[in-house]
Symmetry: C2
Subunit: 371 residues, 2 copies
Amino acid sequence: MGDGNGPSGYLRNNFRGVGFWNPTHILPHERGKRISRMDLNECPYPPSPKVLDAIQEAATGLNLYPDGTCPQLSEIITERTGVPGSNICYGGGSTQLLTAIAEISVGPGENLIAPDIVWRRFQGVFQVVDAEVTRVPNHDDASIDAAGMVSGIGNNTRLSIVLTPNNPTGLMLTEQELRHICEGTPENVLLFIDEAYHEFAIHAGGPDAIEIVKDRKGPWVVTRTFSKAYALAGLRLGYALCSSEEITNALRLATSTFNLSGVAEAAALAALADTDYTQFILDENTREMNRIKEGCWEMGLTYMNSVTNFISIDVGVENGPVVRAMRDRGVRVSTPGYDATGTYIRASTGLPEDTDAFLSALKEVLAEQSG
Amino acid sequence: MGDGNGPSGYLRNNFRGVGFWNPTHILPHERGKRISRMDLNECPYPPSPKVLDAIQEAATGLNLYPDGTCPQLSEIITERTGVPGSNICYGGGSTQLLTAIAEISVGPGENLIAPDIVWRRFQGVFQVVDAEVTRVPNHDDASIDAAGMVSGIGNNTRLSIVLTPNNPTGLMLTEQELRHICEGTPENVLLFIDEAYHEFAIHAGGPDAIEIVKDRKGPWVVTRTFSKAYALAGLRLGYALCSSEEITNALRLATSTFNLSGVAEAAALAALADTDYTQFILDENTREMNRIKEGCWEMGLTYMNSVTNFISIDVGVENGPVVRAMRDRGVRVSTPGYDATGTYIRASTGLPEDTDAFLSALKEVLAEQSG
């Protein structure tokens, strides 16, 4: 094989020498063992039994491609959001849509604007589209600077990316901040609001981005997912609510219409119908999140005031060794970005026993590392 | 909303004014009715009962993200192909990988080379990457011109795309033709061989592309899928076998490692283990394909000599009206490309009763349309 291991000319510049990165990797010592998975912002509870029934029924049809426009699911989403089915594009997780949204709007040499602190997959998205990126520094409390997200837009900016609640901070924008961004972003810039943690924001009394962005004169896209509050990360179903059919069809072209699992629509319908189960997940999450916050407070640690199912905590020492030592103890947490630098770790909520394991492991590890 | 319906400046040129295209769409008159789905090259049989059991078991873990590198499945694929797990990238169907392979290798203004007759999603891929495309005319019998695929490569060519068996022709390349392409494609060009219908080719006594491409000095990728011979189109699991880790990691960056369903790996393992069921599918397919060919021969129609689960037939009249009239009769077939032009239709094999329905509907429709 002539291409060896070094960077190779037949790949585009931005795809050369990419390192291996697999946050979903299960280490050999973790196989078949009960571990606390608190690094991927997953729901610790299995999907609703009604969802499992729906999947079992739909699975017999997995020899067929499903209708990628999910007509039945779209009816319900339209009812709840006012966005017509023609303006909804489904993705294999909203993760697939993030990349597609960037791809349809910015090309090499063009500009996009995003907060400095942002979910690490976005780093991958920026690399894929090979755009120039304006990073807007977050406020001192790590919240997004809404005014900066508007004033930072330049003549070459094609896309503005906002997350509410944001990941890894868990912080959401206020209605006023969202309005400022929606109104201040020029009409020739696509405004993209990632609402992967939408249901947690609503549960915490936060604003609904769709209701605000609808008043915007320029183009917009809002993404949501079934991965988090519906306990369906492994289903891979997210959706983009778009301001026009043109944006929607561009996203469908980028993602192809052959991108959804044949059980996704049935599972999503069952998940939306089982409101008690979603409420249970959200309530349990709040309880365990409060326990984590209390535990950190007792340990004298500061943390970001997350409304979601994950929290970023300042452990006061270098985060990389803490994350590794926690993982050795069966508790998986993460650093907030690609790089293991800084003093913050990010942990998602788990079952009550995961909270116990997390707090006691963190105490041990910090005693070791600070001592 | 300020973006109206017309082409809009905030989208990249190649994503403006894209039309709605949804081959998976179920028409209102088809809902809840037994129709013959012969337009999407699906397997007409449900997944193996062992696969359904595996899915049911894995579904309880759908709250979690699976390991996107499928370590257990990789072990088996490595055993069968000799390609190490570090050189295998999984996709949400091989369809997702087609786009990613083009994205990592060609950018706007750069060149890729492909046969003129090619699966229509590739048209979408070409549009997504905004590359200059050299289309190599197929031979008169619609087979790929292997010599032309080599001689057509220019200084600006970064990617060569070959399909064996090809879609919509169903024709495969010989070992000699594959060797000519593998040897003749320069070392600075990524050679991509799409083997979505690999299992059908082997069943028909054809060559195994991996065994041939391994001798190539330059870089290569081969894609395969669980969608066809394993009756799992709706599972969305395909894989790319790559000549280097660098290519593999570039594909993982483009597709993200959060792209697979949580039931995919378990289902694929069960499907590979149930060799009797795969043999049953392949044998049934051959029988029904032969019945379709005989029926066409009796009607005096010529067709391409497909080795796959679909066949392109010259109906002698404009194909668009034929496809629509067949669909009105409950038999879904397709035109070979995006456009309903020419006199060929493409039909995939179904159950025995689908073959009956297809042949009798085609007789009726052609009597009408030619009369």
